[in-house]
């Protein structure tokens, strides 16, 4: 009995304060809002592909010159997602939820900048090299992960890039929305059609990010996922403390 009690009293783990409350709220608000922005955006994009033969357009395809490898999207995909003929719902939702998406994004950037959390997120000099090692380890090409604190190099690059993509979506969206009043912005982005191209492919990139992100979270397991809700992660007592690092700022 005494031995068991001693074993039990030996502390090998602790609760790491991983994600601040504000970041958790902003993360989970962004998830459905971005989803609605993408779905409503695709409902708008569909309208251009309607009667596509009347105006062969460069925005919605993968190809070179007059050779198109893939129309975006093929008809079965439109049907599967129930996209056709929902243009006005798309417009209404897009111009509604854009405010929440933008406000949430600005709040996130301000919060990370002021709180100092950006130090966990913005890539450092060795992040690119670390990212390569992380990818090799993920693909089981190479064993062992480089040292990290909150995020590894691949995460730092991914999370910073996706934040910049959000800003890119807001600016290219403004350029599309007000191409006359904000024609300087539209011109900087290469004109109206390029702004639409950029806005569309940023959206496709969000979808790719989402796919990889969800897969990685699934592989990382419950402890990691839960920390984006409860804020706390169970870690070995020997692991470097994020809280100590926060205090050092």
């Amino acid at each position: 009995m005494r031995v068991v009690a001693e074993e039990a009293s030996k502390v090998t783990i602790r609760l790491e304060r991983k994600h601040p409350l504000a970041i958790r709220w902003m993360h989970w608000i962004n998830f459905p809002v971005l989803f609605i922005m993408i779905l409503s955006g695709i409902r708008l994009y569909w309208n251009t592909t309607d009667n596509a033969h009347l105006h062969p357009h460069a925005v919605y395809r993968i190809g070179f010159g007059s050779h198109t490898l893939l129309q975006i999207f093929p008809e079965p995909v439109w049907q599967w997602l129930n996209i056709p003929w929902h243009v006005t719902q798309g417009l209404g939702d897009h111009f509604f939820f854009m405010w929440i998406f933008t406000a949430n994004g600005i709040a996130y950037v301000l919060y990370t900048a002021i709180s100092g959390e950006w130090r966990f997120i913005v890539p450092r000099r060795q992040s690119l090299k670390d990212a390569v090692l992380v990818i090799l380890a993920t693909l089981h090409v190479r064993k062992g992960l480089p040292a990290q604190n909150k995020y590894n190099g691949a995460q730092r690059i991914a999370y910073t890039t996706v934040t910049a993509m959000g800003a890119g979506s807001v600016f290219s969206g403004l350029a599309i929305m007000k191409p006359t009043q904000l024609h300087y912005l539209t011109t900087i982005l290469g004109g109206y059609e390029w702004a639409r191209w950029e806005h569309f492919w940023l959206t496709m990139s969000f979808c790719l990010f989402f796919l990889v992100h969800v897969l990685q979270v699934a592989f990382a397991g419950w402890n990691n996922f839960r920390s984006m809700v409860s804020g706390r992660e169970i870690r070995p007592i020997t692991a470097p403390s994020l809280e100590a690092e926060r205090k050092s700022w």
Partner: protein, 322 residues
């Protein structure tokens, strides 16, 4: 609200792994309960946005936001900016799109522009006591590949009109019989200074084309035929236009019509306007989407009541400002 409600010291005092796990469970229960509540609240919010009762085929929260967006645009931009212009060599023949109100070939000689709300209208020689009595003559339907495809589609969908192709019905702003005003001929309009403009035409469907327009400035037209001021001396706020048969109708802010690039168009690509593009007179406004650039104008009315608008009834934005 602090980032973490409990001080780290409280957690540092754990005496065993079991205590750590118990604490974690407490936080997990609490935070997931909050998350569940937030998810329900979020879904209720979205349901309100998606499924509330509609104003002009748009659930009211979305309609209100469209109106708020327009208000903000007016406050910030006020249609001050000029749209970029392009060399004529970059222009193309505008694609035909949308046939509401111009499905029949109009006999050009029978065209007159009804103009209502002009200051001291009686002093003009074109004054008539009832502009609505004017008869337009038609010479059979306009046939066009795009229109035929749409008709086939409608049939393929077994009579269920796809969204965006429904008819919005009659205008609420159409003139009552006996409305006095002017009946202008094309020559009257062509007396105004001619302007050419090469701008990018943008359709809300997503496509855009650079077009070479020719015509007269709406601002010059407003100077030649100024609106009747209200008793307090201010001008009416809106302009209403419709096709000769009244099937297509659009409302504008008066000051948008004063924008120097708002044209009453009589020529496209250096040639007289075609009927499918709205001959003899259509509107071009690079501050607005294409659905606001009405083809074949039969009536222009200055009014202080916000005019009815074809596509606004079908869920689109009245303002449509670019």
């Amino acid at each position: 609200m602090s980032a973490h409600p409990d001080p780290p010291e409280a957690e540092a005092a754990f005496k065993s792994d079991a205590e750590v796990l118990a604490a974690s469970r407490k936080y997990t229960r609490r935070s997931f309960a909050v998350a569940a509540l937030a998810a329900v609240a979020g879904w209720e919010f979205c349901r309100k946005v998606f499924y509330s009762s509609a104003i002009g085929d748009q659930p009211w929260p979305r309609r209100r936001i469209l109106q708020a967006d327009a208000k903000l645009s007016r406050a910030i931009f006020d249609e001050r900016a000029l749209a970029p212009t392009y060399p004529v060599s970059k222009s193309v023949m505008l694609r035909t799109n949308g046939h509401v109100g111009i499905k029949e070939e109009l006999v050009p000689e029978s065209w007159r522009l009804q103009l209502v709300g002009v200051a001291s209208a009686q002093r003009y020689k074109q004054y008539v006591s009832d502009v609505t009595a004017w008869n337009y003559d038609y010479a059979g339907p306009i046939t066009d590949a795009g229109e035929l495809i749409r008709e086939e589609r409608k049939e393929a969908r077994a009579g269920k009109l796809p969204r965006g192709l429904e008819e919005a019905g009659r205008s609420l702003s159409t003139l009552p019989q006996g409305t006095p005003g002017l009946l202008l001929t094309l020559d009257d309009i062509l007396k105004l200074p001619k302007h050419e403009l090469v701008t990018e035409f943008k359709c809300i469907e997503g496509w855009s084309e650079i077009v070479h327009w020719g015509g007269v400035r709406m601002a010059d037209f407003l100077d030649a035929y100024p609106p009747q001021p209200k008793p307090d001396g201010s001008l009416p706020r809106y302009v209403y236009m419709e096709t000769p048969n009244g099937d297509y109708y659009v409302g504008y802010d008066l000051h948008v019509c004063r924008h120097p690039q708002t044209l009453l168009v009589t020529e496209m690509a250096g040639r007289p306007l075609l009927q499918v593009h709205g001959a003899p007179l259509r509107l071009h406004a690079p501050t607005k989407y294409g659905y606001k650039q009405i083809k074949r104008i039969g009536l222009i009315a200055y009014t202080d009541i916000k005019p009815d608008d074809y596509w606004t009834k079908l869920g689109y934005d009245w303002y449509a400002g670019l």
